[in-house]
């Protein structure tokens, strides 16, 4: 009586990813915010200077699209995982999932795929806006490099999101996500150049995750502040830090509810 003892993992992953996509899409607080905010910020901070060039000839508009792109993808990760996990815990969805045959890793991959899809959407919307409204022009290969690097480098923010999601409840998690992520972005020079920031912040910037994350995109449009290898090392270190924190918070939760 053994046709198939378990359901195929691929089918589970597909179904689970579709479910997460629908959930995120139907919560406008998430779907609208993560696509609209980067464009909005770019309009305020970037459009007036979009056609300018730096003294070394680089496009200011492209640099700012890189900045707000980094802001956007990072926020997708922090919010999707932070608020998502906090909600799952509050509504006991985590318990419901645990009594099904769904392996937790499949759920994790589905969440990551979902976040990547939204991150991609957020980036494409911003780039399309920058090109059409802002008149910022770059070779397609440059845009593609930005997209690939920002999606691939977003892992530390998944860790940060998880930590927030496991530590805070559904009402505090969004506030905490903002409280942590926005200052990090500001202080990293995503909204205005690092050189224009207050002195003590300027000293701090080179140690922040968002700073090195944005470097991935800035260097794609010609900035020479930091090599990609160095950025990746910093991001790997932050990934380790945040995932460790997330794991501690997760274990604590696990002990409380599932042991």
């Amino acid at each position: 009586m053994t046709p198939a003892a378990v359901a195929p993992l691929g089918r589970m992953l597909l179904a689970q990813t579709m479910a997460h996509l629908r959930i995120r899409w139907r919560i406008p607080a998430f779907s609208v915010t993560i696509t609209a905010l980067p464009i909005l910020f770019f309009s305020f901070f970037g459009l007036p200077f979009a056609s300018y060039t730096f003294p070394d000839g680089r496009s200011v508009g492209a640099h700012l699209i890189a900045s707000f792109g980094a802001y956007g993808v990072g926020s997708v990760m922090v919010y999707a995982f932070g608020i998502g996990v906090a909600n799952e815990r509050a509504t006991k969805m985590d318990l419901q999932m645990r009594v099904t045959p769904l392996p937790p890793l499949v759920d994790l991959f589905a969440k990551m795929l979902t976040a990547l899809v939204f991150g991609l959407a957020s980036l494409l919307a911003l780039i399309a806006f920058g090109v059409t409204v802002g008149g910022v022009h770059q070779p397609v290969s440059v845009w593609a490099t930005i997209v690939l690097r920002l999606l691939a480098g977003s892992v530390p923010f998944i860790g940060l999101g998880f930590t927030i999601g496991y530590v805070f409840g559904p009402n505090t998690a969004p506030a905490m996500a903002n409280l942590v992520y926005l200052p990090l972005s500001f202080a990293s020079g995503l909204f205005m150049p690092v050189d224009d920031l207050p002195r003590f912040v300027r000293l701090l910037s080179p140690y922040l995750p968002n700073y090195h994350y944005a470097q991935l995109a800035w260097s794609a449009v010609g900035a020479r502040t930091e090599s990609v290898g160095v950025s990746l090392l910093w991001l790997a270190a932050y990934t380790a830090l945040f995932l460790t924190l997330a794991l501690i918070a997760y274990r604590r939760e696990e002990r409380r509810n599932f042991e």
Partner: protein, 329 residues
Amino acid sequence: MAGDPENSSSVPGVPGRLRTSGGMGRPSRPPIPSVVEMIAARKRFGDVEALKGVDLTIRAGEVVAMLGPNGAGKTTSISLMLGVRKPTSGEVRLFGLDPNDRRARSRCGVMLQEAGVPSVLTVRELVDLFRAYYPAPIPARDAIAIAGLEEKANSTAGTLSGGERKRLYFALAICGDPEALFLDEPSVGLDVEARRAMLATVRALAARGKTILLTTHYLEEADQLAERIVVIDRGVVIADTTPRDIKASVPSKRISFTAEPPLAEAIFKDLPVTILELSSRRVRLLSNEPERVLQTLFERGLTMRDLEVSGADLEEAFVSLTSGREPRR
């Protein structure tokens, strides 16, 4: 071995004959495979011992009701069976496997009291999602129909009423066509009509050979559905038998009255009663033979006012099943 395998048959006034089916014996080669096996399972939460050594075997095809007051350990037992929680000591197996084994999980449908689903997904989307978790699910349409949710198929979970939500969870439990169903308080929160439908559905599934474990507060419900009742109280299985034996062993009537003058406990000497309350003048008793008790009390010269004889509810009945054991918390 840790635990006290004898305590399950040491119910006061309920002799060992109460163990008729399943239960303790673990034959080396069981003729029917076991779905659930709990061996001296203990579970401690901080200072509280929620399960104090439970031995329980549920075999394929059995319909078992787990009965007990709130906090008795029913939900903890189910959590252990499904691997949601780990036993502090002892062993729990599901289909002979670790309860967290995906092969075991794939054979179980589960409806938990406190679990939740994403409120923005529709009934149909959720059923389809859960179907994908199982190797051989039934069509979504069928699962939705069995749960009686056709009209709500396109409604999001967040817009459902309490009863509809319960039926949604039932649909999610059965959509994978599992061999075993774990239903934690399946009828709580349902109106009379929905409850009857739910019970009929569970009976139909049982008739098709599904193994069913359900927990309930209601003796009636257990009686209607199950061929075996496991009574659990304060973390211990205190009876494991047929509904008939349980009903015979539990006092079915409650007698209450006001006594003039106040009574001493001695007046109930040799009478088949369980005293629930004997404070100031109000007296509450449980008994299977209210007529004889009252007659004897009158013969002993008792005067009473406000006499009332009514059916005992389960909570009260448990007090008698568990009287003589250490006092409740």
